[in-house]
């Protein structure tokens, strides 16, 4: 299953090339990269530590990929999420979705990120000039995930 959790960085170009290698039926590659910012909620962030729940996190991501494949006609899906210490500018997460056409690939990529943000057990702790703090979950992320449950959401 194309889900990986790792401390080391990833090369999105190499990952995308590998994903569509020897598959000339792929006509669309949609991707998302999440990046560590240097500020959050108006406070400077100098460093962040990402924690996960080994075992459950992989299973949760695999379930999200299975759900995406059930909703859209996709070919390959890859999710890479980093854990450990990250600095502003560092890549955090990569989602790549391939399919025959862009509509389904775009939709599935966004769906996977929305579900990852609300269902995959990862937690961020930020270092700020005022000290360390755990990032609070956002209601807007719940709303983003929730909209995929409306009847219209499946139309790619």
């Amino acid at each position: 299953m194309a889900v990986r959790i790792q401390t080391k960085d990833f090369d999105a170009g190499a990952e995308m090339a590998a994903l569509r290698l020897n598959n000339p039926k792929i006509g669309a590659v949609a991707s998302f990269i999440g990046v560590c910012r240097d500020a959050n909620d108006g406070t400077a962030v100098t460093k962040m530590t990402l924690e996960h729940y080994p075992g459950m996190t992989e299973r949760a991501l695999e379930k999200i990929v299975v759900e995406a494949k059930a909703r859209w006609d996709l070919m390959e899906v890859l999710v890479v999420h980093r854990v450990g210490e990250l600095k502003p500018g560092d890549q955090i997460v990569l989602v790549v979705v391939t399919g025959a056409h862009r509509g389904e690939a775009f939709a599935a990529c966004e769906f996977i990120m929305d579900y990852l943000k609300t269902r995959a057990p990862f937690w961020k702790k930020e270092e700020t000039p005022q000290g360390a703090r755990w990032v609070e979950a956002r209601g807007s992320d719940d709303e983003a995930a929730e909209r995929w449950n409306s009847p219209k959401a499946d139309v790619a």
């Binding site: 990402l50 924690e51 459950m56 955090i92 990852l116 269902r119 990862f122 937690w123 702790k125």
Partner: protein, 85 residues
């Protein structure tokens, strides 16, 4: 019955431990029962696990509800709402 309990992320820091093996009575046969048992320790436990606190629970690495059963050998994890991505 013997169960394994895990505390993750901010909850681990509030409680000062990452997990423990517990020997519990049949009264703690649900997630809600286990939460009540842990809250009864008072202090940081009562504060961190209080009703109304945003808290998620997984049983055997699947998201659980207060009514979810807890059986011998289960792994129950308490953690805050997730913030990955």
């Amino acid at each position: 019955m013997k169960i394994k309990v895990l505390y993750l992320a901010s909850l681990r820091e509030q409680l000062g431990k990452s997990g423990e093996d517990l020997e519990t009575s049949p009264a703690t046969s649900t997630v809600a029962g286990l939460r009540a048992l842990l809250m009864a320790r008072g202090g940081a436990w009562q504060a961190a696990l209080a009703q109304g606190r945003a808290l998620r629970v997984a049983v055997n690495q699947e998201m659980a509800q207060p009514t979810t059963a807890v059986k011998p050998g289960d792994e129950i994890a308490f953690f805050p709402p997730v913030t990955g991505g």
